[in-house]
């Protein structure tokens, strides 16, 4: 990712876009912050918010003509916030903030011909920046339009105080001045820049708005800027005058400090914004008006009215994603943090775990008004880390070993139907379903063979999704290429997958391999098996796989199958295209187990109903957090007399390996009549308490790891003995990870008391 990529990615997230009100305000008052303070009754705090942005705040806050209100989206649900009246209430209840902080004098002099609001704004802004400003005023006093406002609304004392403040900021007033061409010529010689206010009664240049550059308000003669015109109908908007003064001040500041007059000025004045705020579930609350518009709101009224502010922001993705919520930010912020993480050479890469914790499910993109993809950002970043050797080994090693196991001799299997060498269809149940001891894979395979013409082959293995998700692009491509070779050897059959992830992977990485979901085939082609056996009570909540969120056909097939099977079901609040990940996607369970659990628990809490999953990992993860969940095959191929399948626990890592190996042996023996020897145990059998079993699961320690450690210790004698209780403690390092097991031998079987592991190499340990 380079800087340009970052900016492109960042620009997609609109969270930092100005809310509609602030964008519509020509001087971009932070109205959200103002409303927060007002709703809390903190009038002094609210005044500080106004003082930060407004020129002559005591004046302007009383008379602002609030173009923001027309843009306020509260307008659609009860009426726009009464921003103008609240500003007035605040100004009347608080003392002037006094003279604002001004920068040291820059030694540059600016003249303004005119003393109306635009000139006063210009003087305010430039005096704060350290310029010496002189106002040439035609009348005996400055103020222009401000002198025409009813004294009830703008008491003369308030205006006088504001002018006095300007004086204390170093602004000089020359009143009773002729504002004509001669005067302009004179000040052009004496000052570094000139602002000409083209107000009602004085327009020394005769300049119209069309004559001035709209971006800079620069007029023909060098160093001369214009502004403050009335609108075409002769009216003069307060905020428009302020906006002109501010724009001209910015131009003069840039001119006199030698910077560009034109760059990066798109957001000056009222500007467009891409901000989005959902009004879904926002109740309409009617707008309050002050009883007396002159005195403003009573305190409680003011709080209530300010509290109607929606505090507009987007956060659509964060609302639906536990992961995005967990890191307490939003995608734009994350993009920059990730960019920094990838860019640093020395120092802590503190975002590595964050990058590896996205489920890559894509829900953020579905709900984002601008299609921001956290999945794309995180996956690209993972590939980048892998390519530069910066991927922490621990993040995905276990999942990649699982992949290797699934595509190794203990599970991988590829066969046409018995007696055939090629086939028209190839059933690919997926490695995770293959690891479920109760999965109805043999039944489903037999059914497909009976119903589909042209022969149905079988492929056991892993599609490569873990390598894809881990950012191991080369490995992923190798897995897909190897599968393709095998697929070709079977005569290029159509793939029938029971796993949404496998289907998505094949469709993306090998679009020439025809692939279809098992659910679609069962619904459209084969019909259902005879219903026999367990049927759940009550409606089920359908949980769509996140990897199938764009597969509307498969989603529809699942629902149609439930209908044909006579099973009532309900939709979850987020389903179909908007489904949530179960907490398995993107290997978050490896990189961040606690977060993965929170993601699963959030999904499980979406409905009190039993869930219906169509992916083995979804079902197992839900079961892992105690949620009753069925796999669709449980209900389509219920075993005779089988117990309620929703009660079965998550098999866990070791049992999943065992189950895959058992399934392979079973299918080879029963379908192809090729009995294989049961796999010789790698070490002694052992027993373990449920508590220790749970610890092993959490630490990703497999039975096989324990057995090999025991075998190593018992064959070499390299172990410790505790003389107090006779326990042995031994270590073994099969590859990179060192496993420790504390045990006693009870005959040929070990009783294991604990198992732990580490990745660091310790002298005299393992091997």
């Amino acid at each position: 990712m380079n800087q340009q990529d970052l900016r492109t990615i960042e620009a997609r997230c609109i969270e930092e876009e100005q809310p509609k009100c602030q964008a519509a305000c020509p001087i971009h008052v932070d109205i959200r912050a103002f409303m927060t303070k007002m709703a809390a009754g903190d009038l002094a705090g609210a005044r500080k918010v106004l003082d930060r942005t407004m020129p002559l705040p005591g004046v302007l806050a009383r008379i602002c003509d609030h173009p923001c209100e027309a843009a306020c989206i509260r307008g659609q649900v009860g009426g726009a916030i009464a921003v103008g009246a609240l500003e007035r209430t605040c100004a009347m209840a608080t003392a002037s903030g006094g003279k604002p902080l001004c920068m040291p004098q820059k030694g540059k002099r600016v003249a303004a011909l005119g003393g109306d609001l635009s000139a006063l704004t210009l003087a305010w802004d430039l005096a704060k920046k350290g310029f010496a400003v002189t106002l040439f005023v035609a009348r005996p006093t400055a103020g222009g339009i401000l002198n025409e406002i009813s004294p009830d609304v703008l008491p003369p004392a308030v205006l006088a105080e504001a002018l006095e403040t300007l004086g204390r900021m170093g602004v000089a007033f020359k009143t009773g001045q002729p504002l004509d061409a001669a005067q302009l010529e004179a000040v052009r010689h004496d000052f570094d820049a000139v602002y000409v206010e083209c107000a009602k009664e004085a327009n020394p240049l005769g300049a119209s708005r069309d004559d001035a550059d709209p971006l800079t308000l620069e007029f023909g003669p060098p160093g001369v800027f214009c502004g403050g015109w009335p609108a075409d109908d002769g009216s003069r908007s307060i905020m428009r005058l302020v906006a002109d003064g501010r724009r001209a001040a910015t131009s003069i500041d840039r001119l006199l400090t030698g910077s560009t007059l034109t760059a990066s000025r798109e957001k000056e004045g009222a500007c467009p914004t891409r901000s989005f705020t959902s009004l879904k579930d926002v109740p309409a609350v009617p707008r309050l008006e002050p009883t007396d518009p002159v005195t403003g709101f009573a305190p409680d009224q003011a709080k209530a009215e300010a509290a109607r502010c929606l505090q507009c922001d987007c956060m659509e993705c964060v609302k639906v994603c536990e992961y995005l919520k967990h890191y307490k930010g939003y995608p734009k912020l994350y993009a920059r943090q990730i960019y920094n993480n990838l860019s640093i050479v020395l120092g802590n890469h503190s975002m590595n775990k964050m990058i590896d914790s996205c489920t890559l499910c894509g829900l953020c993109t579905e709900v984002c008004p601008e299609d921001f993809s956290m999945a794309e950002l995180c996956l690209d970043s993972r590939r980048d880390m892998v390519n530069r050797g910066k991927m922490p080994p621990a993040a995905h090693e276990f999942a990649l070993e699982d992949l290797a196991f699934s595509n190794g001799p203990d599970f991988a299997l590829l066969r046409a139907e018995p007696g055939q060498t090629t086939c028209s269809h190839l059933f690919f149940p997926g490695c995770q379903l293959g690891g479920d001891p109760n999965a109805r894979i043999p039944e489903a395979y037999a059914f497909l063979r009976a119903k589909l013409a042209g022969g149905v082959g079988l492929a056991l293995g892993c599609c490569g999704a873990p390598a894809l998700w881990a950012g191991r692009q080369t490995l992923f491509e190798e897995v897909v290429a190897a599968f393709r070779t095998q697929w070709e050897s079977l005569g290029r059959p159509r793939l029938v997958t029971a796993c949404a992830s496998c289907l998505a992977v094949f469709r993306q990485a090998a679009p020439d391999i025809p692939a279809v979901s098992l659910w679609q085939v069962l619904n459209d082609e084969t019909g259902l098996p005879e219903a026999a056996g367990f049927t759940p009570d009550g409606p089920l909540a359908v949980h769509d796989s996140c990897t199938a969120r764009h597969d509307a056909t498969a989603q529809a097939a699942v629902r149609a199958l439930l209908g044909k099977r006579g099973l009532a079901f309900e939709e979850l609040p987020l389903s179909g295209r908007y489904t949530e990940c179960c907490g398995f996607g993107g290997l978050v369970g490896n990189a961040h187990p606690e977060l993965a659990k929170a993601i699963t628990e959030r999904r499980a809490a979406a409905s009190p109903r039993d869930f219906l999953a169509t992916c083995a990992m979804c079902r197992d993860r839900l079961a892992h957090v105690g949620k009753r969940a069925y796999h669709l095959l449980d209900l389509l191929f219920p075993g005779p007399g089988a117990a309620d399948p929703a009660t079965r626990p998550d098999p866990g890592f070791s049992l999943r390996h065992e189950t895959r190996a058992r399934l392979r042996r079973h299918l080879l023996a029963t379908v192809w009549n090729e009995p294989t020897d049961p796999k010789a145990p790698a070490g002694p059998d052992f027993t373990v308490s449920p508590e220790v079993r749970a610890v092993m699961e959490a630490r990703h320690i497999l039975d096989d790891d324990v057995k090999r450690t025991l075998a190593h210790a018992e064959s070499t004698g390299r172990k410790f003995r505790n003389r107090e209780n006779g326990h042995f403690l031994a270590s073994f390092t099969p590859h990179r990870v060192t496993y420790w097991v504390e045990y006693v031998m009870e005959g040929a079987t070990a009783r294991v008391f604990t198992a732990y592991s580490h990745r660091m190499t310790v002298a005299g340990v393992g091997k």
Partner: protein, 71 residues
Amino acid sequence: MNDSLVYLPQSGDWVCASCDGPLSPTDTAVTYLEGGFTITVLACPKCGLSLLPEYVAVGKMLEVEQLLEDK
């Protein structure tokens, strides 16, 4: 002077099973990725077998592993 961190078992009276001999605190090299340091653990002076207690493996050592992985 030995200034490496000392990690002894929290319980038990451990001996080397093969030579039945006592263990003694020994400076032991630990390496990971491009990092390395020395700790003191019990080891068999004859066989060279080192005993890394569970609390170290799942505690301090895991922390340091993660720290080095994010370097």
